[in-house]
Symmetry: T
């Protein structure tokens, strides 16, 4: 395997496909995970995929990833905009981070325009729905190769 | 029963009656729940009543209510002012929400004037202490009847 | 009678039922008054109900209420957001005030989020349409009993 | 007649011609009304023209116009910048509104740059002195024809 | 007589002596007027003294003063902070204006720190209770003498 | 001829009629020019009409107009809100400027509420679609006559 | 003597009469002092009058006044707007303070609208030139009598 | 061909590889174009690739693309943050837009955090250097297939 | 024992010594705890020391401390800046709070300058690394003695 | 001696014990100095202790300390919040600085929340009254030992 | 020659001498260029001098200067305040930049106080009219000598 | 002599050459004075050169210069950004002022971007180190000649 990637999903992403479909589309988190696994295989990446509604759990998972993974793909949902704790955890571990959002957050409410994750992420991909996760995997493969 | 109502209480409301009585009065959360149960019976509403200090737990409960309840009464305490995750959960489920606060939040510190819950709530009742929950139940009965 | 309540209505509320029905619903001010009178009777409250488009008239009525009423229910309409004179009048008389709004003002334009009335009101009820007046009467009865 | 137009003038416009002539010119409100009447006749419009220093009176007149006029030309003077009540009245009646100002308000004090009337007006004409009223009448004729 | 002075009092000043005595003291508007009349006599000034809760009435009185008085003493109460119409009226008439407040407005809520009247007043006297009116009369006498 | 008028049109106005018709209507810039030419003839005005997507080109044209025209009608499109260079050019030449916008810019996004052109324009006409250009010509004729 | 009054003058007031006469008038600080001495005698007040350009010196003088004077009249000049040290000194001693400014500071640059002295002063008198000092003495006599 | 894609590059991108390599890396715009052409061929996309330092030229190219292309990939460089004209052009043509930035703009100066292009773009990809263009092409292929 | 002290550590402090050593130094939380235990013994204080990444857990621990401890030393990490829930819990229990930060938060990003804990803390110690905890214990001993 | 420490006290601290005892306690600066001398002896530190009301004097003392002391303990009083000159002096000399405040400045007026001294201080201790100076000495001893 | 200097002039500077002479004086750009050429000769500097109204042209010229000049003197006129593209171009080439303005921009409208050019310029000279260019040349000679 | 020039230096400039050499360079104030004296002689200017850390002293010196000098060159150091007293002194004397800063203040902390001295200075020279003083002298000679 060329690298181990952890995909972290924040609050309410488990409702995907049922929640505000005009904003997020009809994909479910399961179908996104399935697409990611297929794509990861082609890129020779090992994938872990998880979701939580708890800020503290997100921080725990980020901390644990330091010893077990090579790169994080993070869609922190609402915690993107409010969690300094998540920012600190991401800074504390030295792994590259790719930020993903399903919708184009720059077109939504003002308080969604700011992202704490962006302060430590290599880059951001937003607005492409579940396909954005696959783009992130492509980019992850390229970043891990360059290292 | 004409409807099932979930009453969600956020952080520190379990301390009610012991905490800053000049702001919140001497009622306890238990006495409020008791009054609510009495009132709910008169209104033919089924009532669930719970409290947590955890933002993630609040989000979990909101998500679960989608399949089990008809309406939410939410006093999110401090998370009212900071939790985008709670806002997203409330938007994701399609149930009507009634926002309650014991004190008149418009008379307290500036950072308590803004409410994320208000962005999705049918209406807000604040400043009437524990009696505000009973008013919310009256309104819930009326809303569920209109439906 | 257990108490005398004055219900003050501010500018444009006389147009109710004809004005932006998607925001305010199809109730008229007359039907709200009728519902209030019925509810007041059950609560043993004496009710006066009036409306004006004039800020000065509102201030005059508030001042006069000092000697004639026990409690004010105030829906000041647009003057909620702009009238320091109304705030001063409400502070000057020592009566309890309950603030009512038909719509949830926290979901409307930014300049409607701030209320001068809130600075002196016991509490606020908003978003429940004309039913909010009835909730205010319930609360009035409870407040006047406690005194 | 092709339409009935109400021209509303707000506070202090009755002093026109005597008040700060470097800002407003030497025209009087009477001479503007005379020019308007001449122009209206040519456009086959029926004209009512009034002035008040009272915000409540302005709101009353707007409300009454709903049943008696087809279009409003509004120079609300100082209430342009402060009256949410006027905004609400103009929204409540469904008539087209043309906003007029004698001076170019964008060149005056900061607090005159914002207009509540603009939120509901078809358009704004400012900076052309009393002639702006005549331009508004031209536009009124065109708008009423299009209907 | 060396000059005619109009003393304008805005909303709620008629409640003086009964309203928030810790802020405004126990003087009534009548006792202030009496003191003013005594002081005016000594200064050879003719005095008119009036009060209203209506913004439009204040504007009307300011406009009328142009032909009947030499100087205005203005305590506009709450309209101090909100009335552009009053500012425009005071600018339109060419009379000197002395601004008076009973309390020191710079020590009260933020929204009372700004005064539209100050933009046209010769000077401001605040914080000296009813005695401030007498100080204003002293100053009026001096200003009218200098002319 | 009583005067030479230059009508300057800024970026994207060449797309008129095809672009966001719910905001700008179905008129094309050619039809507006045709209406303007007809109206100008009746007013004895000579008309030049041009459009560019380039800020520098707008500045060049304004500079050249100093020696060739008597008045400018300017619809600077997006440069209205961002171009200090255009403001400086308009100030540098001593010609009267009339500002026109098809839509009511006060009802659109916040960043469209501010206009650099307004700082030098005699007046602004907005919200009347292509007819606003004709109103500007009427006003131009009046202004050039007064000179 | 009914009381001892210290009149403190801040930076650049020694230039009075030579400095921006259109703002401050042609009085000198000496002539103001002379007028004050005359007025103080009539009021049975003992007067000390001093000026400095140094913030530290102002603080020293305020501290010393605690044991030697009954009331302070303070025109702190530029330090009005910038000196927290002066504010702290005035708070630390328990004497009443009357704030005086020659010009109406509310009509000057934005940074002159805020006063640290106002936070502790009984009241403010501004805009009456040197005569304002005499008004302050009148008020001082009244305040010291009331004590 | 499954679709025609126009890649627009704004000011200073022609200097790529020579300019601030710590921010943008050592790639040149030519090498990015070469990679894009290779990737486009694999995706069956026809590619046009251009660069300009002129805002007006960018607007012209966007307008022309309406009839010749199916999708735009836009790296507007500095105009991202300042050009309302570019925003209007992108809105006027009805084509999907993908926004690309070489660096993560959320980590740079405050004034680079805001993007006018984001208001109309399907999504944004930033922080992945020249590889971001290839990600954009992948996404373009997916978007054009879905249509 | 002269008192029982609870030392609460917030998110990511468990990573201490491995995380951004240029900001926080090479101490681990274990070595800080060991130093605290030694110091506490000398001061006759009983010590409990704990850490969590969860906001809700912090609130729970604070609530429980009400019955078991005499004083809290709180380093809430990132929740310092975002948690109103923590503030409310600390206010609700009546124990003295000492706020500690390893780094000088006033020298870091703007969003770290504000602390909700400061609103209820007796005092703050920041910038002294792990030694700050020992200073807090010294101060705790002194505070508990004074009681 | 292990090090020479200069303790600088800013304006009004000489009034300590007499000034606002509810904020600062009843300690005098002399008693604090005495406690500091006792503590310094135990820590083998040489102590100089001084106070001034003058910003310029503070800057002078800081400059002189460069050649005579090893560390500064600074309680700049009001100059904490306003003196860029003090900040520049502290930056210019290369000595470590410990910032002390008697009260918890984060709980006082908004303008006391910002500190220029914090920009160069190793750390801040506030809210512990005179005991904070002793804590600073403990920390000074530790810092000077580490060097 | 000791160095080649490019003097870039932005929009409307070609109108110099005819435009707002009270702000910019009666010099023309030609006379400034002549003075510069004379001064440059004395300093052994080779001079190129150009002007444009186009932002894109300015960027082009800056880019080309990288291979042909040693230092830039930039008076970007209005683009000083709005052009991020110019800032990026100046950063991209590694040449020293001296910023010049004819007027003192700090005394003009608020939006002229900010300069993007200042972010990369060695220094700024403003307020000295055309003579400022000569000062810049003196400074250029000194800077190029030091290299 | 063609004119007498006073060069005023504010706080901490006496430390020059020892203080933050990466910002201010290695020049000392003495070497700058020496260069100024040489340059002044060539320009037939008489020079006085002084420095102080005291705001009050700066104000005193400015006041005295009114009768003894023809022009001021002012580098007020930190007082540039905070001293309204200095601004008032400079306005009060009618002499031309040239503002100098060693560093480019627009590239430093936000609070150094604003200058009170700029409000009265003919012009500003910043970023050229000690050579900026010589440029100021050149400009002084030119200004005094023009008079």
């Amino acid at each position: 395997m060329s690298g181990k990637v952890l995909v972290l999903n924040g609050p309410n992403l488990n409702l995907l496909g049922t929640r505000e479909p005009d904003v997020y589309g009809a994909e479910t988190l399961d179908s996104i995970e399935a697409n990611c696994r297929a794509r990861a295989q082609g890129l020779d990446l090992e994938l872990e995929f998880c979701q939580t509604n708890s800020e503290g759990q997100l921080v725990d998972w980020v901390q644990q990833a330091r010893d077990t993974h090579d790169l994080l793909i993070v869609n922190a949902g609402a915690y993107t905009h409010t969690s300094v704790a998540l920012l600190d955890a991401l800074k504390a571990i030295a792994l590259p981070v790719i930020e993903v959002h399903l919708s184009n957050i720059h077109q939504r409410e003002e308080f969604r325009h700011h992202s704490y994750v962006s302060k430590v992420a290599v880059g951001m991909i937003c607005g492409f729905g579940g396909f954005g996760y696959e783009m992130a995997l492509e980019s992850a493969a390229q970043l891990l190769t360059k290292k």
